[in-house]
């Protein structure tokens, strides 16, 4: 397995009148070829900024991005053009991310036209191929976005992103504005395309059940920091960071017989403008102590499972102990949702 993209201590700050807004703060991770990295977090945690910074839609403030081993952090001109062919993005809102004056065909072909590598005849052929690929009827080629529903528009967005056969695609909430039945169609399409072309994805979403479904690895973000990083299934089985635990417990479950015990977080996300040093979750954390005011580092507590909480082991032990006291027999329930669904 080889690494496609590596991010080292990436920082993206925005200047505001009140000081620097730390949208992405010291984030590091790698994505393997053909894998999907899910990034979850609540609104304003910096997940979209991270995605955009990675494909050069935003300039990083500090840090390094390596694409196939090459440093692409500060590339310009021709090199950037080349990089863009390999790194694409599917946007959240298929309503505002399509040019209303472009037909479906124009939209899908735009990247090809800009690359100046295709003849007219080739473009025609490519248009048909791409429309078939993402499942848009060829008769819709000359339709405008306003004539299409959300699901089809998102298919157009996907077609445009895949037009130049990129290696890496950032999916920024690609299904959150769609109805469930359409959402499932698009998720399946994205999965099929990955299988067929060996694409590497970074999948940004706030929907935890979607992220679990599509990802190999998951990063949990809170106010610009990476708080936990682990293989997907593992994260849902044994979440270790207090924030991850609360986040998972807050998802309304369709399992009506084993209701989850909710961890209700007090308060709301504080401001990311000139944040105080230390763990940013501490003001809402039920386990916070004095020692939390020191910057936290990601530590590998289990193979491939990283957590940025200095009390993680302690909290795990505490939870296990509590569980034993309550129900010595039902240790398994410590898993965030139990595994009894396959009965």
């Amino acid at each position: 397995m080889s690494t496609l993209i590596e991010v080292k201590n990436l920082k993206k700050y925005f200047q505001t009148s009140k000081g620097d807004l730390h949208a992405v703060d010291d984030v590091s991770f790698t994505i393997e070829k053909g894998h999907t990295l899910g990034v979850v977090g609540e609104s304003g945690c910096g997940k979209s900024t991270l995605g955009r910074t990675m494909i050069h839609l935003l300039e990083p403030t500090d840090g390094q991005i390596l694409f196939e081993g090459e440093d692409v952090t500060r590339i310009k001109g021709k090199a950037l053009r080349q990089f863009r062919e390999n790194a694409q993005i599917i946007f959240q809102d298929p309503y505002s991310s399509l040019n209303p004056r472009f037909t479906v065909k124009q939209t899908i072909l735009e990247p090809l036209v800009l690359s100046k590598r295709f003849s007219k005849a080739e473009l025609e052929k490519e248009a048909d191929r791409l429309m078939d690929l993402v499942g848009i009827d060829r008769r819709l080629a000359l339709s405008y976005p306003h004539e299409l529903d959300g699901g089809r528009r998102q298919r157009v967005g996907i077609g445009r992103a895949l037009a130049l056969n990129p290696k890496f695609v950032v999916c920024d909430e690609p299904v959150s504005s769609l109805d469930v039945s359409i959402q499932a169609q698009i998720l399946n399409l994205i999965q099929d395309l990955q299988d067929e072309y060996g694409l590497t994805f970074m999948f940004i979403t706030h929907d935890l059940s979607v992220v679990r479904h599509v990802s190999d690895h998951i990063c949990v973000m809170y106010m610009g920091n990476l708080v936990e990083k682990s293989p997907a299934k593992e994260l849902f089985k044994t979440p270790m960071h207090p924030y991850t635990k609360a986040l998972l417990s807050a998802i309304p479950s369709i399992d009506i017989h084993s209701p989850m015990k909710r961890i209700i977080l007090e308060g709301e996300v504080t401001s990311p403008v000139e944040p105080a040093p230390g763990c940013r979750f501490a003001p809402r954390c039920p386990y916070a102590t004095e020692a939390c005011h020191v910057d936290q580092e990601l530590r590998e507590l289990q193979p491939d499972h990283f957590v940025s909480c200095h009390r993680a082991e302690e909290i795990m032990k505490l939870a296990a102990k509590k569980q034993e006291e309550k129900e010595p027999a039902a240790e398994k329930q410590a898993d965030i949702r139990g595994e009894g669904k396959d009965e």
Partner: protein, 344 residues
């Protein structure tokens, strides 16, 4: 004045009517650019005191139109309530005057809108917005009493009363939605129509808001109709569920009946479309095709073009299926016999 009081009493009187709220055969159409859009096509259901009914369905299924027609706030034109009765404690809301209806809105029935960013007046402090609702329904209160009650409501939804004079833009999304909820609960309504109250919120904030709404409702035995597309939210908050498709209820039952034993192919499709948090499914099973165009509904069963079980009779105009009782409190609208049969 006398007449109003009389009506108010009538609406509070519970023993009189069979159900707290009955919607009977509601039909609503919109006319736009010469086209008739069939938004609601014969919806009937009952609701009891303290009960929560979930209306589940996709965009354009007619969920919000149902709620708005209960409150009689559909803009006419383009909307037109063609037929149907809405009985609140036995009083037909479509037979009373607009003046009386104004008394019902806010005091008996109130609505929580989806988007807290647009439901609040940006140039009025949140406290005054809550006070406005109280003032309108309690003309006997002094200014001081009104302010006091508004502060009390703010505290109830977890916002310190010291923020009474803040404007909506000074609040986060979750807090704005709390203000909207405080507003709708200010006059102790008997029925709340909640239209996707938490869709615009993050999960941890959604959990806070749902918990708070539940506590407040239990305190006052308020009934609620919760409109949502999120089956997880339904599972956690509702007693009964109505699945809406193309302006019709296609399945109705208790939460247990719907979640443990869904029958209609559409309901099954909705469950199949959801990635779960525990399963090991590698592929989802979406419903084929798109929701129908409400200006041009398919003949017969509206779901037949997307249904795996559809047969010849499902496509026939005069064979449109009825909502059939299949045991318990479970109803389903499907022609397929297998769908309706109860397992032994």
């Amino acid at each position: 004045m006398k007449k109003k009081d009389h009506l108010t009493e009538e609406l509070c009187w519970q023993e009189e009517s069979e159900h707290f709220l009955s919607v009977k055969d509601l039909v609503v159409e919109y006319t736009a650019a010469g086209e008739v859009i069939h938004a609601v096509n014969g919806v009937s259901f009952d609701l009891e005191r303290g009960e929560t009914l979930g209306l589940v369905g996709e965009t354009g299924a007619g969920k919000t139109t149902i709620a708005k027609s209960i409150l009689r706030i559909l803009p006419d034109p383009p909307a037109k309530v063609r037929s149907g009765e809405i009985l609140l404690n036995g009083v037909d809301l479509y037979k009373i005057s607009e003046r009386d209806m104004r008394k019902v809105r806010g005091e008996k029935i109130s609505m929580i809108f989806q988007d807290p960013m647009t439901a609040l007046n940006p140039v009025m402090t949140v406290g005054d917005q809550i006070a406005e609702a109280i003032q309108l329904h309690h003309s006997d209160y002094s200014a001081k009493e009104v302010t006091l009650r508004a502060c009390e409501m703010l505290e109830k939804v977890g916002i310190p009363a010291s923020r009474y004079s803040d404007y909506p833009h000074q609040f986060s999304g979750g807090m704005k939605q709390r203000v909207v909820i405080a507003m709708s609960l200010a006059c102790n309504p008997l029925l709340i129509l909640a239209d996707e109250p938490t869709t615009a919120l993050d999960v941890t904030i959604q959990a806070q808001v749902l918990d708070m709404m539940k506590a407040l409702r239990e305190e006052q035995n308020t009934s609620m109709i919760l409109i949502t597309h999120d089956l997880g939210v339904v599972a956690e908050t509702c007693d009964r569920v109505a699945v809406v498709y193309a302006g019709q209820i296609i399945e109705l039952g208790s939460k247990e009946e719907i979640f443990d034993d869904p029958r209609h192919p559409y309901t099954l499709g909705l469950f199949g479309s959801l990635p779960t948090l525990t399963g090991d499914e590698t592929r989802l099973h979406p419903i084929d095709g798109m929701p129908p165009n409400p200006a041009d509904l398919p003949e017969g069963c509206a779901f037949h073009p997307r249904c795996g079980k559809a047969c010849e009779s499902c496509r026939m105009r005069d064979q449109a299926p009825e909502l059939v009782h299949i045991g318990g409190t479970h109803y389903v609208r499907c022609l397929d016999e297998g769908v309706k049969e109860r397992e032994a």
